[in-house]
């Protein structure tokens, strides 16, 4: 599957089919990430059962503490 993640086209392995799996794939802890798919924000409690599809535009924002 090919998705556009943070503006870049990325090939995802076949076992990545939900938002939760996507975050896991990128080693991002789900509680500190914000995910938007095709301009729609995904609530954290929906990560497990929100499917991602070929061609989706996905934005992943993670929080950092520095400054």
């Amino acid at each position: 599957m090919r998705c556009i993640i943070n503006g870049e086209t990325i090939h995802l392995p076949s076992h990545v089919s939900t938002v939760a799996q996507l975050l896991h794939h990128f080693h991002i802890h789900k509680k500190i990430a914000i995910v938007e798919i095709n301009m729609h924000i995904v609530p954290k409690e929906d990560y497990e059962h929100t499917a991602i599809a070929d061609g989706d535009r996905i934005e992943i924002v993670h929080f950092v503490g520095g400054g």
Binding site: I34, G65, G67
Partner: protein, 338 residues
Amino acid sequence: MNRYSRQQLFAPIGEKGQRYIRKKHVLIIGAGALGAANAETLVRAGIGKITIIDRDYVEWSNLQRQQLYTEDDAAKQLPKAIAASVHLRAINRDVVVEPIVADADARLLDDFVARERPDIILDSTDNFDVRMIINDVSQKYDVPWIYGACVGSYGLSYVIIPNETPCLRCLLEEVPLGNATCDTVGIISPVVHMVVAHQTVEALKICVHAQVNRKLVSFDIWQGQYRMIDVHKLKKDDCPSCGKTRTYPALQYENETKFAVLCGRETVQIRPARRGEREWTTLLLFLEKCGIQVEQNDYLCSFTVDGRRFVVFSDGRVFIHGTNDIQEAKRLYYQYLG
């Protein structure tokens, strides 16, 4: 010639906006890279008053990006809040600048905001513990705050308006641990300025009662990536900070001496439960009797024992450099200062 003429020519501010700006009080928490740049921008813009709180002192490794400080400040180990206030007053003597050398903990921030009711709180801190305190204080006293953070070449910013936008706790279910920090993956100065540009423009908008940007902004300035996300759907009715039943979890005080590792710095901070000025004379006499050499300025003293450098602040806090081991720090603290 009016020093603010160019800013007043900018129509969304104008002369009226400038008068608003002159009446506002901004609380800046942290006087590191973000704090120094946020403070300088607002002081040049002619803000009425800024209060800047910081627990640290100027070191050589700060000079690469913490724009207000000079080599002289680092050589003298001046507390950042003090050094910042000196430079800020030299930039614009019309602005009231109030430095506070202290750890911005729940008690200090709760008391300060309850008493002073600043118009805006600008986050310039380096950890989520204090941001959650800011988040609760903001909700409790209905003061907007502006999150800003950066590491490496990545940064983000978000405006939190009580009763309107989701709060930080709505967006973050828990405090991130083991995150990358400026001490582990570094940081470049341009991303600091990008975060500060976003924070200060929103601060100016709040000052002149313009509509703020409600989106979460994030960017990687090295990669040339920039994005804005609408997060208003993440506001939670049951949020303990901004929801219907609030407990303000970050404001639950603990009255004990606290030991904390300062992330990535090989330093332990000790914050005694009892506040107030440390009794210097007795301490200095004691150290002298032990044959320990002490360096001192008006705000702190430092000395080295057992290969560990101690920095003792006049508000009672102590840094022990050269260790990440809380147990060792406890032993040393109670041995020499307890």
